[in-house]
């Protein structure tokens, strides 16, 4: 079955982010695989998501969870074969689910044959596929991203006796995008997967493709040239496919990545995410409204991608020092919860497993302008394990039921790729899909309903937003409009009940219809519209003139 041709499908999408390894193990080797993932597509369809974003599944030494790719045209043997991928893609398409895959443009693994050739001699034809130097003093303006592990962006190669450039781990040498052959080859890699049927790419670490002396080596004009070229080829050869940027930047700095609608279709809105958590803890809408006020308008065909949590740490790069200190104190009081400039925790533990706060944050995720991404397991409130290294604590196996290995794998528990979450609060015996499916009021059931309501109208994905500024700063209220349709969202960010008066005079005569229960609220008149909200409660109202 072919997917409907909706050019802007990504605007209406709800994306589910998952690692193949973590979803379901079909062959009992302790590691999730493509066949297992295909088996769980019914679950994802039932949840109501419309796209899957797969983290890297390519052959890799797995020293950075697959972001260190050693072969772009194959599948890591633990996850299956190319045939398994094709099977999965067909099954997803049959269920109306699109698939976005990861594409790490910036660097490869140091085990990639390209790098092995490159380092083999100064005269190797692939020598200038990477960035080499006799000195480690070039590009001093570039910051070090992995502060906890790396001392420099240069690493010494004892084989060819030169330094190579790496913005991330030293085992991830950066490709040299000044070399046309590299650019051509990366397009060929993308073409390979597009022809297989993927619907788009999340391009990893985009801002760092080029290096120029006297700059911070981020967001350089040459990078945009590469993106424009990739986009042009994509549109010409594979219309309807999508490019999503991973660029942890301020919104104004991200704007160029949309170009004039001729670069990325979507980009993650990184600074919004920590501010949603901050606003919740402060019980103050200011951090959220301020960052969205600073968010520039993007071309009509483009879209922000929103998320609460993902496979990385909750990054605090795009906050002030004062905000970062605050976030650490309130969300990561234990040192083990911190990593680099961020917090390595899942959604539910971040929110103290408070169902009301989890619902509110998901409600915001689904109603603010953009395409939401749900990180696997967050729909059932999975926990994390801060004692696992790096970011592995948020990448544990999906908890399907309370039985053997959480229903994830039939292997011996010792052979699982990661330990299961087993504590009394978040352990798989308590938190799992099977038990939540049975309960009408479980988080999973609630999430399904939330997605249903979100998908009942295109307004959330496509409408504009206008903030109301009631005097009560604990209440975040905004109006979304698209065509003739208007929706009012009112969110209480506080732990206590709140009263709020909204100036809705311009909608005078409309009645409010609450979108979850479809109950009618009083007609809007001349006076301020008074609402009361319970702790962390939110309303979505459709405005109707009857």
């Amino acid at each position: 079955m072919a997917l409907p041709k909706v050019p802007l499908w990504y605007k209406d999408a709800v994306i589910y982010q998952v690692h193949v390894r973590a979803m379901y193990d079909s062959n009992g080797d302790g590691i999730g695989d493509f066949r297992g993932l295909a088996e769980k597509l019914d679950y994802l369809q039932e949840l109501g998501i419309s796209a899957i974003w797969l983290m890297p599944f390519f052959p890799s030494p797995l020293r950075d969870d697959g972001y260190d790719i050693s072969d772009y045209r194959s599948v890591h043997p633990s996850y299956g074969t190319l045939e398994d991928v094709q099977l999965f893609l067909r099954a997803a398409r049959d269920r109306g689910i699109r698939v976005v895959i990861e594409m790490v443009l910036n660097h490869t693994s140091d085990q990639h044959p390209w790098f092995q050739e490159s380092r083999s001699s100064l005269n190797n034809p692939r020598r200038d596929w990477y960035v080499w130097s006799d000195s480690d003093t070039r590009y001093r303006g570039a910051r070090i991203i992995f502060l906890d592990t790396e001392m420099s962006n240069w690493a010494w190669d004892p084989i060819s006796k030169q330094y190579y450039w790496h913005r991330f781990f030293s085992h991830q040498p950066d490709l040299n995008y000044d070399n046309p052959a590299v650019r051509e080859e990366m397009w060929n890699v993308m073409k390979f997967w597009l022809e297989m049927g993927v619907d788009g790419f999340r391009l990893d670490a985009v801002p760092y493709l080029f290096e120029r002396e006297g700059t911070n080596c981020e967001n350089l004009p040459e990078t945009h040239g590469v993106i424009k070229e990739l986009r042009r080829r994509l549109d010409e050869n594979f219309p309807g496919r999508m490019l999503l940027a991973e660029a942890n930047q301020w919104p104004a700095d991200l704007l160029p990545y949309f170009g004039e609608g001729d670069e990325f279709h979507m980009a993650f809105h990184f600074p919004l995410m920590p501010r949603m958590f901050m606003g919740l803890k402060l019980e103050d809408r200011k951090p959220i409204t301020e960052i969205l006020q600073q968010t520039p308008k993007i071309p009509d065909t483009c879209q922000w991608c929103l998320f609460l949590r993902n496979h990385d740490e909750l990054t605090l790069e795009m906050v002030t020092d004062m905000e970062r200190d605050y976030m650490y104190d309130v969300y990561a009081h234990e040192k083990a919860m911190r990593l680099n400039l961020g917090i390595r925790r899942r959604l539910a533990p971040l929110l103290d497993n408070d169902r009301r706060r989890i619902e509110l944050m998901n409600g915001l995720l689904m109603s603010l302008p953009g395409t939401p991404v749900i990180y696997y397991g967050d729909e059932i409130g999975m926990g994390d394990n801060i004692f696992l290294g790096d970011r592995h604590g948020v990448r544990t196996p999906m908890q399907w039921d309370g039985g053997w290995n959480a229903g994830f794998s039939s292997s011996d528990p010792e052979s699982l790729y990661s330990a299961l979450i087993m504590n009394p609060i978040y352990g798989y015996q308590s938190v799992n899909v099977a038990s939540q499916r049975r309960l009408q009021h479980s988080l999973l059931s609630w999430m399904r309903r939330l997605l249903q309501v979100r998908k009942s109208t295109p307004i959330f994905g496509r409408g504009n937003i206008e903030f109301l500024y009631p005097d009560n700063h604990r209440v975040l209220a905004f109006v979304r409009q698209f065509g003739e349709e208007t929706i009012l969202a009112v969110n209480n960010l506080s732990a206590s009940a709140q009263a709020v008066e909204l100036d809705l005079r311009r909608f005078k005569g409309n009645i409010l219809v609450e979108m979850f229960g479809r109950n009618i609220f009083p007609r809007i008149g001349e006076l301020p519209y008074l609402l009361t909200l319970g702790p962390y409660q939110f309303y979505w109202f459709r405005l109707r003139r009857i």
Binding site: M278, L282, E283, D284, R285, K286, P287, T289, E290, Q293, T320, M322, E323, Y326, F467, Y469, P470, D471, N472, H473, R474, S494, S496, Q498, A499, E501
Partner: protein, 426 residues
Amino acid sequence: MAEDNILSDDLLRQLISVGEVDILVGLHTHNHAKTIGHMVQVIREGLLKYFPRERVAVLNADGGSVDGTPELVRAASITDLRRENSFYTLRTLHCISSQYGTNVSNGTAMHIIVAAADLLRARACAMIAPESSEIRPDWMDQLLGPVYRDNADFVAPVYRRQRFEGILVTNLLYPMTRALYGKSIREPRPGEFAFSDRLASRLVGHPMWSQDAGRLGPEVCLTLEALAEGHRIVQAFLGPKGQAERPAPDLVAALRQTVGPLFWSMENANGAWSSPAEAPTLLTIGPAFDVGTDGTANIDLARLHHLFCSGTKDLESVLKSIVSADTLSQLQYAASLDQAHFHLSDELWAKAVYEFASAYRRSVISRDHIIQALAPLYRGRAHTFVTENLNAAPDALGERIEALCVTFERFKPYLLELWSAPERGS
């Protein structure tokens, strides 16, 4: 509840929007447009510097300003609609203002602020006098810190006074308060002070607010209430206070705002001062006494002397009903001396003040007349104090005030005797 009546619907709506706070700063204005803008900016800077994470709000109770004072206060808000480029804040900072009427009353204004602090459950509330021109951001830390962080209930200020600034305080309020409660509260009539949520909840329904004492001199009543109830009190040195250029109240008005509330509080808390309970040690942050070297007395000593002499003579019949025959005789003797030899001793002054307090309690005549009758005596005392200390070094001045305090303390048994004496005619 008292706050049901004291808070207007308009203010209540604003307080609903502010919600629960950790810290509240109260202002009480009336046509302070010239200075209030700067003052609110400084307060805001201090709050953001010393309490960047706390939920803070500024509340102005305005007595009907027509010069735009409330608008200037509101303009200092930091919200998502009105951001500040000069510094970044984590939170919304509400600066709200409410008019309580057209009759200016510090008592009403402070009652509103106390009620709001109680309603918003502010852990610490600071009151700032709108004419304090020397305000600095660190005042917020000095005043609010001991309450918010260290569990104090009341923070009284210590100012750096010029030599003859606040003679009424140094010669009456301070020594008498110290004699009553055994605590060296240097400023029993503070322009700035802070109090805890515990104290706020006690104060909000206090009878002072319905009395002249509370209406005219709420600062004195609040300080004495904190003393009387044995709350944990801290003094914080704020440095020079300064005064915006506004006409000073006349002496009788000043007495009504200070001595009246003092006498009323004595009556209201009789048991507390007659045998003060053990209370926590008074902690002072910074110097407990500091006098500037500036400020040569710009005081008309001849006029003070003249008004003492004429007042003692003109009010003889009134004074007869207030002070003892011995005291009246000593006052009349003093009035007979020329200015060069005039002297109103510490002993005579302390004794006379205590007799006034006793007369006030017994309401031998109209209480307001008693307060007014103190004016000439105070002038005589001021004359003596200035004359004695014209060339005194700061340390010597401190020793003189200390000696006066000791005299007030020495005469306390006399006060107790007067206080417990049967009513005349009974």
